[in-house]
């Protein structure tokens, strides 16, 4: 159940951890890039703004100092043309200029006597008229038919009218585009690689955790000797293993102590019982004791009950501490129940009970045959001991999903209501019960040691109902 192979990778913690770290990584790198992009774009714009402002001053100077004659247009036009060649450093592979520059001088009467720039001035004039520009502050103006937008700076001269200088810096834009394009590719690669690496390392780490979980799950009361591998590196997971191992040491010590105690109690109590029983039996076999036969036989029977009580008490003590040793093997529960039903049937018929048995065949559990036998026998003993004559007893065994469910119900008086909530506690028994009150506690302890559950309750329509479920073993279909 712990094997990573049996689960899809998306259900693993390694997957979740690497997904989240990758998301955080992707977000962080994208954010860092945005900042860098913003700063680069700003730097480029500031550089071109500085150039624009300087150049417009130069042009204004030239236009102010140049005589207003027929050569004026040519002089200013030359200077503007030179400026446009200066910024035209960005050329593409065909040698074509990427950047566009325009220079426009507008008279105080609104006419445009001087225009240096690509294409006709009309569309530029329209765009400029629609925008309010503060002198000396570069602004973005988009002109119809031109991309990217022009960065335009304006300078007003008292009598010389207004001078506009605009630059559409396509090479800077291409640079920024290239930056984004390359970043996206590198980013995708980095994120994928990062996810791969973090998934692998998380899976390696968590495999160790899984190994710990597997070992701990395997270490039941049957096998307290195994330990979790601690690994050569001293990291958090190694410390987890160490902590588990220290805990297991303590559990093992207390279980061993308990076993030593129950062993000692068993020895100390059973030795005298054995010798008393032996001597009574010898006395019984001695033919000349007519008067004493009966009391001696009764004493032997009482000693047997005492030994049984002792065994059950010690088993129960061990089971409740999780120290009961299970001799696990595949047990065909259908077989067990059917044999026990056969064994108990005459005794039930003797009390005029009617027994009906419905068993699903071949229900196999992994368990201790002898303990399971005793458990079911215990429940059937209870039925015989507590029912008034002439009842109907029903035994049903069937598979319920991953569990085998044994239901024993009758139409007798049912459990006393004050008993139902704590029927599985030791020495709890009905007022008229002649038992020792360990039966159901024992049943509960054994079933729990097998990873199952027992519940008691009222049968619909009156009577008692006991429901016992044990995890079923997956059968190899043969």
């Amino acid at each position: 159940m712990f094997s990573s192979l049996s689960r899809p990778p998306r259900a693993t913690a390694a997957w979740r951890i690497s997904t989240w770290t990758t998301l955080a990584f992707a977000f962080g790198t994208a954010l860092a890039f945005c900042i860098v992009y913003f700063l680069v774009a700003k730097g480029i714009r500031e550089r071109s703004d500085t150039w624009l402002k300087g150049e417009v001053e130069v042009l204004a100077e030239v236009s102010a100092s140049a005589p207003r004659d027929s050569l004026y247009d040519r002089i200013v036009g030359e200077v503007a043309e030179l400026a446009s060649q200066e910024v035209g450093a960005g050329r593409n592979s065909q040698g074509k200029r990427l950047n566009s520059l325009f220079f426009l001088q507008v008279n105080s009467n609104g006419q445009a006597p001087l225009w240096v720039g690509p294409g006709a001035e009309d569309s530029f004039l329209t765009a400029l008229r629609q925008t309010h520009l503060d002198p000396g502050v570069p602004e973005w103006i988009s002109v119809k038919g031109w991309a990217p937008a022009f960065r335009v700076v304006v300078l007003r001269r008292g009598h010389g009218g207004t001078i506009y200088l605009g630059l559409s810096d396509l090479s800077a834009l291409r640079l920024l585009h290239r930056l984004v394009y390359r970043f996206v590719w590198i980013w995708v690669g980095m994120v994928a690689f990062g996810f791969f690496i973090s998934y692998l390392s998380a899976r390696r780490m968590l495999r160790r955790v899984e190994a710990i979980a597997e070992t701990v799950a395997r270490i039941g009361s049957d096998d307290l000797g195994s330990r979790v591998p601690e690994g050569p590196i001293s990291d958090e997971i190694s410390r987890l293993s160490q902590t588990f191992n220290r805990m297991l040491d303590r559990v093992q010590a207390s279980v061993n102590q308990l076993r030593a105690v129950t062993g000692a109690v068993a020895h100390d109590l059973k030795t005298p019982v054995t010798s008393i029983r032996g001597r009574l039996e010898l006395a019984l076999s001695d033919g000349e004791n007519g008067r004493w036969r009966e009391p001696v036989a009764e004493s032997i029977e009482d000693l047997d009950k005492l030994a049984q009580l002792l065994n059950t008490t010690l088993d129960l003590a061990e089971a409740e501490a999780g120290a009961l040793q299970l001799d696990r093997e595949p047990v065909d529960l259908s077989d067990v129940v059917s044999q026990l039903a056969n064994l108990y049937l005459p005794a039930m018929n003797d009390r005029h009970h009617e027994l009906s048995v419905a068993l699903e065949p071949r229900l196999v559990v992994q368990g201790d045959l002898s303990l399971i036998n005793r458990t079911v026998a215990n429940l059937l003993d209870n039925e015989i001991a507590h029912l008034p004559q002439g009842c109907r007893i029903e035994i049903r065994l069937c598979r319920q999903g991953e569990a085998t469910e044994l239901v024993i119900q009758d139409n007798g008086p049912g459990f006393p209501p004050e008993l139902i909530s704590h029927a599985f506690e030791r020495f709890v028994k009905g007022k008229h019960s002649s038992g020792h009150g360990l039966g159901l506690a024992f049943v509960d302890a054994v079933v729990q040691a097998h990873g199952g559950a027992v519940a008691i309750g009222d049968r619909p329509g009156g009577g008692a109902l006991i429901r016992l479920s044990l995890p079923v073993t997956t059968l190899q279909t043969t």
């Binding site: 076993r259 062993g263 068993a266 030795t271 054995t274 032996g278």
Partner: protein, 225 residues
């Protein structure tokens, strides 16, 4: 047949000696592992009965040492503990059977016969069992009392067969459950007795000499007295 009993509790040792002698065995006894080992290595015993809780060493070690020194006599282990683990280790160390205390004498004798028989298995297994005028045909699973065929269920036949195989010897309820139902349980109710009553009502009809007898405090016996 000569047996060696190694048991430190003197009352138990005494009653074992006495009852085994009464059952026809010659018995030597030792109260600790050292004496037990010395006696065992004489090589004159047909079987050992060894208690696991000895004062000077563990009974399992004693068995292992005897086996290591070439002793092949079967060993019946006695123990007050009842853990699965110990039973398994006992049988692994060279024990042949295991009996928990307290035990019924009848069961001790049955197990003893069993381990002795393993050493010298019977030459042939009869398909007929006979006791007084009771005849069991094991192949046809048929029982006759005199000329009359008894109408028995398969379970009743198995029970009668077990009693017949042990004719003259007492069998306990635990032994019956172990051999006929193959279960080691200790029912709190009289389930086994009811089976015996039913069987008896078919085998010992009125007017016939009773064969199945109850021995109070011990169990049942089939004998023609």
């Amino acid at each position: 047949m000569r047996l060696l009993v190694v048991e430190d509790d003197i009352p138990i040792q005494e009653f074992l000696k006495k009852s085994l002698s009464e059952a026809g065995y010659l018995v030597d006894a030792a109260g600790d592992a050292k004496t037990g080992e010395a006696l065992a290595l004489e090589g004159v015993h047909d079987a050992f009965i060894i208690d696991l809780g000895l004062p000077d060493s563990d009974g399992l070690d004693l068995i292992a040492r005897c086996r290591a020194q070439g002793s092949t006599a079967p060993v019946l282990i006695l123990s007050a503990r009842r853990s699965v683990d110990e039973r398994v280790r006992g049988l692994e160390q060279g024990g042949d059977d295991y009996l928990t205390k307290p035990f019924a004498l009848a069961e001790l004798l049955a197990r003893l016969r069993n381990v002795l028989r393993r050493v010298a298995p019977p030459q042939y297994e009869s398909t007929q069992l006979k006791s007084a005028d009771l005849n069991l045909d094991l192949l046809r699973r048929e029982a006759r009392r005199g000329e009359e065929v008894l109408q028995l269920t398969p379970q009743e036949f198995s029970l009668l067969e077990y009693l017949c195989r042990n004719a003259g010897r007492v069998v306990t309820r635990t032994m019956i459950l172990d051999h006929v139902w193959r279960m080691r349980i200790d029912p709190a109710t009289n389930v086994v007795d009811v089976h015996i009553y039913r069987l008896r009502s078919k085998v010992d009809r009125e007017g016939l000499r009773p064969l199945i007898h109850t021995i109070r405090g011990v169990g049942y016996v089939l004998k023609p007295v």
